[in-house]
């Protein structure tokens, strides 16, 4: 029996969490589908034609209301996006809500209203749900779990092991906005200007991109751990090297300023309304064009490419012209001052 305790770092998407998942969950539950650890499970019910994508996510964000969204909007977008990243059309969600005794009903109404609006925008429905109330202190205000089902059309095969050398890597917009919006609101790290999360449902963007589905190899929304983590995972799963250029990664000036002040690296901060796409080189321009027509990817840009050298490693071309490794974070980026 393991006497060690779970620490916060076990939940933040970095190495410690990966280890926990492998040593405990995969070793106990593992099967061909789960072991792929993709954004969604891809299920084929009759071994041909369309497939089903199935995923789940729990939302425990603090603060529950933040610039650009709230836990409700996040709960819908997160699951809609996980399905979209497999090239699926999201159709149905479930929602399980755990509420702390004493939580204000007015706040609950706001959150539910936010979910309703996001569902409408995404064109998705909640078809089953569950509500629990726990004693004060047994959960932090409100936790939401959403699970989702989507359809993957025939011929669409998008997952994290499909990146190929020479693929162009496209990012749909400026990074780190959700991460910094959350951090900037927590006690002790406040800024006067509200930084807004980029939280958004990406299924319409993916639908626009799927015209070129044969040339799209990987889609990934860089959530926990940010762009750097997502790229490292794809490099590992696809067994390719990745090279990106620091000057090409879009970061808003306000986000850059906040990161400088807090000593954080925007490449490791979460996005909740952005995607990274690995696209066959000859179709990159066309995919980029399709993306830029969508309101959530007006500033989509190519940031680098997959390569056949230094497999499983991600390298960054720095502003000074040198080249350094961009590794997986071990633990939460704590704001430094020293």
């Amino acid at each position: 029996m393991n006497k060690q305790k779970i620490m916060l770092a076990h939940g933040n998407g970095g190495l410690l969490m990966q280890r926990l998942i492998n040593r405990l969950f995969i070793s106990n539950f593992g099967n061909k589908i789960l072991n792929r650890l993709d954004d969604s499970a891809v299920l084929s019910l009759n071994n041909k034609g369309k497939k089903i994508a199935f995923t789940t996510d729990s939302f425990v964000v603090n603060p529950i209301f933040f610039g650009g969204g709230d836990i409700g909007k996040l709960a819908v977008c997160g699951t809609v996006n996980d399905l979209s990243m497999m090239g699926a059309r999201p159709l149905f969600l479930s929602a399980g809500v755990i509420i702390e005794e004493g939580f204000e009903i007015k706040q609950l109404e706001e959150i539910v209203g936010s979910m309703r609006r996001t569902l409408k925008e995404a064109g998705v429905e909640i078809v089953c749900g569950d509500t629990k109330v726990v004693n004060k202190g047994a959960c932090d205000k409100i936790f939401i779990n959403t699970a989702g089902i989507g359809i993957i059309d025939e011929g669409v095969d998008i997952h994290s092991a499909r990146a190929r050398a020479k693929d162009s890597i496209i990012v749909s917009g400026p990074v780190a906005e959700h991460g910094i919006a959350i951090l900037s609101q927590r006690e002790g790290l406040t800024f006067k200007t509200k930084l807004k999360s980029d939280c958004a449902p990406l299924n319409s963007l993916v639908a626009d991109m799927l015209k070129f589905s044969k040339s799209i190899h990987v889609l990934r929304d860089p959530t926990r751990g940010g762009l750097a983590t997502a790229l490292n995972e794809i490099a590992a799963h696809s067994n390719v090297g990745i090279e990106i250029s620091e000057k090409d990664v879009p970061v808003r000036a306000s986000v850059k300023g906040a990161c400088e002040i807090l000593g954080l690296d925007p490449l490791y901060l979460a996005c909740e309304g952005r995607l990274v796409a690995f696209v066959a080189q000859d179709k990159a321009k066309s995919v980029l064009g399709a993306m830029r027509n969508n309101k959530y990817a007006k500033n989509a840009t190519i940031i680098g490419q997959a390569v056949s050298r230094h497999k499983k490693e991600v390298y960054l071309d720095t502003l000074t012209g040198s080249n350094r490794i961009l590794d997986v974070p071990v633990a939460d980026q704590m704001p430094r001052i020293c």
Binding site: K192, S254, G257, E260, I261, I337, C338
Partner: protein
């Protein structure tokens, strides 16, 4: 050991200033840099301004670098 970021003073109220960097704003302490004015750039460390950034020196540093390196290029071309 000392993360310091250049920020611009937007407003001053006693010992506190509202500063901005890249469009975001934050309140900081300015006891350590008496005499700073709105519009000045200061070095922000751990919630305080620790020094006023000297614009002339900054310009001089960059100008010197550009000059030195033009000279270097000329030398290389010879």
């Amino acid at each position: 050991m000392c993360l310091g970021v250049p920020v611009k003073i937007e407003k001053i109220e006693g010992n506190t200033a509202l500063v901005s960097a890249g469009g975001i704003r934050r309140k900081i302490g300015i006891e350590l840099t008496p005499g700073v004015k709105v519009g000045d750039y200061v070095l922000l460390h751990a919630g305080f301004a620790i020094e006023k950034i000297n614009e002339e020196d900054a310009k001089e540093t960059l100008a010197l670098l550009e000059q030195m390196l033009e000279y270097t290029e000329e030398q290389n071309q010879k």
